[in-house]
Subunit: 121 residues, 2 copies
């Protein structure tokens, strides 16, 4: 029974890089990742999976081709599979991402913001 208590604030204090998700827990073949966002990410989609964001601190925006939503602390949002989106944060925002193990942050877009997908903190 190796499961440990994960204190999300303590884990967030352990890294400072933006757009670099850190895994904190696994449930079956899904991962819970903490991320710090600031600025604009890239337009991308995940063809095979939905993706959940829960904002822990600050606020983030998720742009879609037809609208934009603002997700604030204590709010959860599901980005449906196959839908192009871009994440943005004017000031630093902390979020918890839940998605299957192996999902790459930039989805189909690639590019310089692509992060390793299985880095734990």
């Amino acid at each position: 029974m190796a499961s440990d208590i994960v204190n999300l604030a303590q884990k967030l204090a352990k890294f400072s890089e933006h757009w670099s998700p850190r895994v904190v827990a696994e449930m079956n073949d899904y991962q819970f990742k903490l991320v710090k966002l600031q600025g604009d990410f890239v337009w991308h989609q995940h063809e095979d999976t939905d993706e959940v964001f829960i904002v822990m601190k600050g606020e983030m925006r998720i742009g879609f081709r037809d609208r934009e939503v603002t997700i604030r602390e204590g709010e959860l949002f599901v980005v449906p599979r196959g839908v192009e989106h871009i994440t943005r944060a004017q000031e630093e925002c902390h979020a918890l991402i839940i998605e299957p193990r192996g999902v790459v942050n930039t989805g189909d877009a690639g590019g310089t913001l692509t992060a390793a997908s299985d880095v734990w903190v």
Copy 2:
């Protein structure tokens, strides 16, 4: 694109029953459920799946046959599949549960605390 912003505090304000999880979002074949806990639940296990708790308010204890953990606000815990456990809260605690759609709260134990598994709020 039917996905909506889920404000967890607002959803929690909409029900008061203990041990009665309410679905607030779905990701692939997984569900996010809010639950209010107070008192002792029942010993049970989920043979086929891990189960994640994130405490939103207060604190809960999870008892195992060989130890007990206390999970506080802002903390996450993974209960591994097939491990007998009991959830407890001395004072009312609010938590977010993440697990596959269709999981029954009492697992293999059944009994009077068994709740409908797909009630949304």
